[in-house]
Amino acid sequence: MTSHNLLFMLAVLSAVWAVMARKLLTSAIMLALVSVFASLILFDFNAPWAAVFELSVCAGLITVLFIAGVSLVRAEAERNPEGRAVFQALPLALAIFAIAAWYYVPAFFAGVSDWKLMAAPGGTIGSALWDVRRPDLLGQIVMLAAGVFVIKSIFPKKRPAAAEERTTK
């Protein structure tokens, strides 16, 4: 087994742990571990730019966001825990799926890889990002603006008149 396959296996095991963990905080930390393994896989694929983004944004920023969310709802989640049986059935369900998929998925993708169209050699991440995928950058800006708009509309600023009315009632 190569280190590449080992990293994929560790990513799957961390994902299983993230789903099965009883505590939400453990789930969030295991998700960060999935991101770390995904980032190592990206490094192994010789894709350092994507790996650095993945490590800093997904394993860093998103984990912080999740931990902030977990700290808000942890008390309520511990008061009303979910049934554990469906979570504990995950290894069994995954094992059945993995055995069934072993007979179909690799053979299917071996067939798919025969249709590959090789790209022209050369190019840099700069030319790919700024020249070839320029519309993506516009899409990213629109997405960020949409995210800001969503958060602003979910937490509207209270109007002074409405706030006053509420205090007089």
């Binding site: 789930s27 997904c58 808000l72």
Partner: protein, 101 residues
């Protein structure tokens, strides 16, 4: 067996784990964690296809876009969680029914 097909086998397993987590849980946080696992699998699928066709630069550019979208989705989802928690005191998705017509 080629490395590409083995990679995609593990990617399929990751997608299964993420979807299972989303299906069985009622907590908004666990739903988002399942979604994140599926999006990690999609990211690995993009880079694996890029490596197969010697197109790693384009695959990396797409992954950077995916990461930005992922952050916005998680931020919006957690904002929804905070609002739902303030209104109903719970992070249960079945209590997000105030938009029901």
């Amino acid at each position: 067996m080629s490395a590409f097909s083995l990679d995609w086998y593990f990617i399929t397993l990751l997608i299964f784990v993420g979807l299972y987590g989303m299906l069985v849980s009622r907590s908004i946080i666990r739903q988002l964690i399942g979604l994140e696992i599926v999006s990690k699998a999609a990211m690995l699928a993009v880079i694996s296809a890029g490596a197969l066709t010697s197109n790693l630069m384009l695959a990396q550019a797409l992954i950077i876009t995916m990461i930005v979208v992922e952050v916005v989705v998680v931020a919006a989802g957690l904002a929804l969680l905070v609002k739902a928690h303030r209104l109903s005191g719970s992070a249960d998705i079945w209590k997000l029914d105030s938009l029901k017509g």
